[in-house]
């Protein structure tokens, strides 16, 4: 378990920690400020139960899904969404390494995969985001140079203009 929930995974899970935090904040507020004071016990239980139930359920689901996803990440190859069954599609870490190599200054490394600002797998330092941003910019630049002719929505145009003739 310690292995599955490493820093990367925990970082991914922060997204669900925020709503948990908001609920906890209200729990604390209702207890401390007690805006509707002098409650009967039953009302109190309902009030807290309505907060506790989603809190607990969300915590459990986050844990279970995090374990399933992060576990599978460690156990088997990881691809980008929708590409796992395509033959010859690159694995996620290959793409990331290419991007990193490029960011590290080896400008001749073509990045054929398109950037993904999300790829913080190997970066656990707090400013991972900055690095990722850089990745993307260099990625876009590289593409602009190499295939200028094919940005914009040319492809759809191409296909359909045939019909409009």
């Amino acid at each position: 378990m310690a292995e599955i929930f490493d820093r990367d995974t925990l970082l991914d899970l922060t997204v669900n920690v925020i709503p948990l935090g908001i609920i906890l904040f209200f729990v604390a507020a209702f207890v401390l400020i007690d805006p509707f004071g002098g409650l009967d016990f039953y009302g109190r239980v309902l009030q807290m139960g309505l907060l506790a139930f989603p809190l607990v359920a969300l915590a459990i689901l986050t844990y279970v899904s995090g374990k399933a996803i992060a576990g599978d990440e460690k156990r088997s190859k990881v691809f980008f969404q929708g590409q796992a069954t395509i033959e010859g599609s690159p694995e996620k870490h290959e793409v990331e390494e290419a991007i990193e190599a490029e960011a590290a200054g080896e400008t001749d490394v073509e990045d054929p995969y398109g950037g993904d600002a999300d790829e913080d797998e190997s970066e656990v330092d707090p400013d991972a985001d900055d690095n990722d941003d850089n990745d993307d910019e260099s990625d876009v630049d590289a593409d602009d140079e190499s295939d200028e002719s094919d940005e914009s929505d040319a492809d759809e145009d191409g296909e359909v203009d045939a019909d409009e003739k």
Partner: protein
């Protein structure tokens, strides 16, 4: 009279059963031998007679193939969308004047209002999502079909009778009038109490129809859960599952908990109406019980409707941004978070019912918390586009429209989740504006993004680009004109669900009707474009019509499409192209 009526019914029923038996005998007969030969194809040049699929209409009535069923769902949803859309056009026409000058009676307006809501949510929203999920999920996760193909077919075929029952009040049946309960069916009105006319069987029929669509959705959900858990290809681990499948999985979980509850509540209501039980009577469970049960279903229902469209956008938008989805796992986890939290917010629809303020506060807290995962997704979409190489194709435009409208719809929702604001705005047009920004501006837009994006995949042809873009702009402008006017009407204090209004609201109502007219024109263009292009659009020239390979954003369903094209080119000596509808025996070549 009574006796002859029964006799007539018996004869009709008997004849019908005999017809069914004869049909079954025939079908069973050919099925054990060879497929039926010719037979006018209902849809273009369907199947060349290979595989076991029969030709013609019988194919569509007997199919259990997930792609065929997906198309059936799509056709059904389209019909429902047209019906619901025409209903609301009548309503918007009525609302151009403060009196009931156009339709002549508020009763008819109320009937349209009720049917419009139910049609759009249950007969269009849920089925159009099922169209995408049925067609695509087995392809994307590398399954051969759904886990339970027959249950899949049953789930679909429950829907047409459901629609007939829901619309029954509008048909010229003696003594049946349409329900006027609004889609929320609040008791005591819907229990037929009081001097109104809601004791009419029209309401019973509608409740039965709704019950059927609920059964259908539940069966579909079980099927998707089983399929995604057990039928994934080996490579598709949880870490590799795509975002659309994740949203469908979550949605199915929500359906599994929400719809059976609606079904039970509907049965209780039917019992109250027909067998004098007192579930929702003042002397029994009380009318408020209905609201609790309904919204315990109802709020999850709005996420049932919005999660898969979010999945479509998360899936399609990166393809035209030239990069992968930003924060893929954030999107997955926040989807799951929405799924859980959506069961803890139902009473934010009941803030004004005099509910205990302590409970109200708890519901407010969770309602505010649930806004976070939605916002996270929004930021992920924006960040995906940020600095990307955007290609403003029609699907992409609809995705961007989705994000834009979802922001307005979401922000208005967060305001409503705050008790003091809601107490002012509850039951005004502000609420109508809020949820239409989401159901029309977001959910329907995502549906259109999906339809345009996968149009080449399904039909092997291109739609007309200019018409598609005209459709988008008409809808983008129309949506914002219509529903922003409603937000303003709500600020002005215009209550919802009225056929008449004070003269001071006339201008904004007329503006809203103008926007609705733009939506109508856009919709007509859409139907025309899809229909004509399906029949005679130019054929796509490659297995990767969106050129996703160039940015390495190809996905499994296009890979399948490519393989299917190759197989069919080979099979037909290169002359013919792919067939217009779901592939036949080819899929086992691509499945691993």
């Amino acid at each position: 009279m009574e006796i002859t009526g029964q006799l007539l019914l018996t004869v009709l029923m008997g004849a019908f059963l005999l017809g069914v038996a004869a049909f079954l005998a025939r079908v069973e007969d050919w099925r054990s031998y060879t497929p039926l030969g010719a037979g006018g194809g209902a849809v273009g040049e369907s199947g060349y007679g290979h595989s076991e699929k029969p030709a013609g209409l019988i194919r569509w009535f007997t199919t259990v193939d997930h792609k065929d069923i997906g198309l059936l769902y799509g056709a059904y949803a389209t019909v429902a969308f047209v019906v619901g859309g025409l209903m609301v056009m009548l309503m918007r026409a009525e609302l151009t004047t403060p009196e009931t000058a156009v339709l002549g009676s508020a009763t008819f307006y109320n009937s349209l209002l009720t049917s419009h809501g139910i049609t759009m949510l249950f007969l269009f929203g849920t089925p159009i999502i099922a169209a995408f999920s049925n067609y695509l999920i087995p392809l994307v996760i590398g399954a051969d079909d759904m886990a339970f193909p027959r249950i899949n077919a049953i789930a679909f075929w429950l829907l047409p009778p459901g629609a007939l029952l829901i619309w029954a009040g509008f048909f010229p049946l003696p003594d049946v009038i349409p329900a006027q309960t609004a889609w929320t069916m609040y008791t005591p009105l819907s229990a037929g109490v009081g001097n109104g006319n809601q004791m009419n069987v029209g309401v019973d029929l509608m409740l039965l129809g709704l019950h059927l669509t609920g059964v259908s959705a539940t069966m579909g959900a079980i099927n998707f859960i089983a399929t995604i858990f057990t039928e994934r290809a080996e490579e598709v681990t949880w870490a590799n599952l795509d975002i659309f499948s994740w949203t469908i999985l979550t949605q199915s979980g929500l359906i599994l908990f929400a719809f059976p509850l609606l079904g039970s509540a509907l049965v209780m209501l039917l019992l109250d109406r027909n067998f004098a039980t007192t579930f929702f009577a003042v002397e029994g469970g009380g009318p408020i019980l209905w609201q609790h049960l309904f919204w315990f279903f109802g709020h999850p229902e709005v996420y049932i409707l919005v999660l898969p469209p979010m999945g479509i956008v998360s899936y399609v938008l990166p393809r035209f941004s030239g990069r992968k989805l930003f924060g893929f796992k954030f999107v997955v986890y926040s989807t799951l978070a929405i799924g859980v939290l959506s069961f803890g917010v139902w009473a934010h629809h009941m803030f004004a019912t005099g509910i205990d303020p302590r409970l109200r506060a708890s519901f407010m807290a969770v309602s505010l918390a649930i806004a976070i995962p939605s916002a996270v997704k929004t930021f992920n979409w924006i960040t995906t586009m940020w600095n990307g190489k955007l290609r403003l194709t029609t699907p992409m435009l609809f995705c961007i429209g989705f994000v834009s409208n979802f922001i307005i719809g979401g922000v208005t929702g967060v305001f409503l989740a705050s008790i003091p604001v809601d107490l002012v705005l509850h039951d005004t047009y502000y609420v109508v504006g809020h949820f239409h920004y989401i159901v029309m501006g977001a959910i329907t837009f995502a549906g259109m993004a999906g339809i345009y994006y996968w149009f080449p995949l399904v039909t092997g042809r291109w739609y007309q680009r200019r018409l598609a873009k005209a459709h988008f702009w008409l809808w983008m402008i129309g949506t914002n004109v219509t529903f922003f006017a409603m937000v303003l009407l709500g600020y002005g204090g215009m209550p919802r669900r009225y056929a008449t209004y004070l003269p001071q609201f006339a201008t904004l109502h007329q503006i809203a009707s103008l926007g609705a007219f733009l939506l109508l024109v856009g919709g007509i263009i859409w139907i025309y474009n899809v229909a004509v292009s399906w029949i005679e659009g130019p054929r796509v020239q490659s297995g990767d019509p969106w050129r996703l390979d160039e940015t390495d954003l190809n996905t499994a369903e296009w890979d399948w499409f490519e393989a299917k094209r190759e197989t069919s080119l080979a099979a037909t000596d290169g002359g013919e192209d792919v067939t217009a509808d779901g592939g036949q025996e080819i899929e086992d070549d691509t499945a691993e």
